[in-house]
């Protein structure tokens, strides 16, 4: 079972390395969006510190969503998606591989750069650790749920905007527990409760979402 998932991951990572522009652009989007907020809100550190978790998480949500159409659209356009659907393995496993590959290329970089942006918001060190951990744990769920949106809107005109309409409401629990974890850590309540719930959301998403996305792909490939 793992063989097909690792095969898909290695293929997608090789492809992503060949076209680094997409990874970097989503990352810069994240950086720019986060940096805009202090300009809008004003420089007072304590206000920014209060807003940091929410701002960083919403920006992470939007950055992940930017790269969702790429999950299936390229493969659909050049015909490789059909070949993946005809691989002698359940399509859900193939999609799981693609979701993990997508996370490695979108969620992981966001987590790595989040602490640096946290400094802009004058977050304490625990806060920086918390935001990194939260985004690291939470973004796989974003990729998983996002895969459902990407599969449902495959080949549709206006797909980018449509995906956000479908997927953002489903992202809300991840946003709440993700931002909540940082907030709880910073205010001293301890974010373990939130992080464990976030991890639960991620495991549930990685477990079920690929199969729903596979069903959506089958509908789209009809």
């Amino acid at each position: 079972m793992l063989k097909i998932i690792t095969a898909v991951i290695s293929r997608d990572l090789k492809l992503a390395m060949r076209r680094q522009a997409d990874i970097v652009s989503a990352l810069f989007f994240f950086i720019i969006v986060v940096s805009l907020f202090p300009l809008g809100i004003g420089p007072e550190p304590d206000l920014l510190r209060k807003l940091a978790p929410g701002v960083l998480w919403v920006a992470a949500l939007l950055a992940t969503m930017l790269s969702l159409p790429r999950l299936f659209a390229d493969d659909h356009r050049d015909g490789t998606l059909e070949q993946l659907a005809l691989a002698p393995h359940p399509l859900g496993l193939v999609v799981t591989g693609k979701v993990i590959a997508h996370w490695l290329v979108s969620g992981l970089p966001l987590a790595l750069i989040a602490p640096i942006l946290g400094i802009q918001f004058d977050l304490s060190t625990e806060g920086l650790v918390a935001i990194t951990l939260a985004i690291l744990i939470g973004t796989p769920a974003l990729s998983g749920i996002g895969a459902i949106g990407a599969a449902l809107t495959l080949g549709l005109r206006g797909g980018g905007v449509l995906i956000s309409l479908l997927v953002l409401p489903l992202y809300i629990p991840v946003l709440i527990f993700g931002a909540g974890a940082v907030d709880a850590t910073v205010t001293g309540l301890g974010g373990e409760g939130h992080l464990s719930l976030l991890a639960a959301l991620t495991f549930a998403s990685l477990g079920f979402a690929p199969w729903a996305a596979a069903a959506a792909l089958k509908i789209a490939l009809e």
């Binding site: 293929r11 492809l15 060949r18 050049d78 015909g79 059909e82 691989a87 002698p88 393995h89 009809e222």
Partner: protein, 202 residues
């Protein structure tokens, strides 16, 4: 043994065909004839299991085609080349084989690429190849293809005469080895080996 009986296809609100059936044994090639829009491609998509038929059933070796085993025996070549532009022809072949659980060594892949006349271009990213060359990368998959059931959607389109002869040789080799093939094509190409049967879609 590929069997289809009482197949019905409705596209949008037009019924393209109904009550369609056939049996295809080892070493046999089925030509699908019919003008554009008569449902040839839809029938192919049904045979590979991507398009559920409105009615009727398809069996491979007596079992349903909605299984991993069927897909392990199936090789499908559609209109699209199914190659990644960023990868080189060699990487494309190896990745396709790897994803389909097929054993393909690098030498075999190099040999296949040589046979389709892409010698020396194995390590050039496909986006730098011409349309004809990309098509040949897609066809190169058939050279070492060991899976018994081939379903080819207009494989001869946009090929020069030499390539057409080469491909018909590959297909007849496949049939001689006891393989099966279902093919749609506009120009009738004579396949030397295997028994050829025709199915016309009105």
């Amino acid at each position: 043994m590929l069997e289809a009986d009482n197949l019905e296809c409705v596209r949008g609100d037009r019924r393209l065909f109904a009550g369609l059936g056939f049996r295809l044994g080892a070493g046999e090639l089925l030509y699908l004839q019919g003008k554009n829009g008569s449902g040839k491609t839809s029938l192919l998509r049904m045979l590979i299991g991507l398009l559920p038929p409105e009615a009727g059933e398809i069996r491979w070796k007596g079992a349903t085609i909605k299984s991993d085993e069927f897909r392990a025996d199936l090789c499908y070549l559609g209109h699209l080349n199914a190659i990644k532009e960023e990868l080189t022809p060699l990487e494309n072949l190896l990745a396709a084989a790897h994803l389909a659980d097929e054993v393909l060594s690098e030498d075999e892949a190099m040999d296949a690429l040589e046979q389709v006349g892409l010698a020396g271009r194995e390590d050039l990213a496909c986006k730098y190849l011409s349309q004809g060359q990309k098509r040949r990368v897609a066809l190169a998959r058939l050279v070492k293809e060991k899976r018994p059931l081939w379903i080819l959607d207009e494989p001869f389109v946009a090929l020069d005469v030499a390539a057409v002869n080469w491909l018909s040789g590959i297909i007849s080799g496949h049939l001689q080895r006891g393989g099966l093939a279902v093919m749609t094509t506009h120009q009738l190409v004579d396949i030397p080996a295997g028994t050829v049967r025709e199915l016309r879609l009105s």
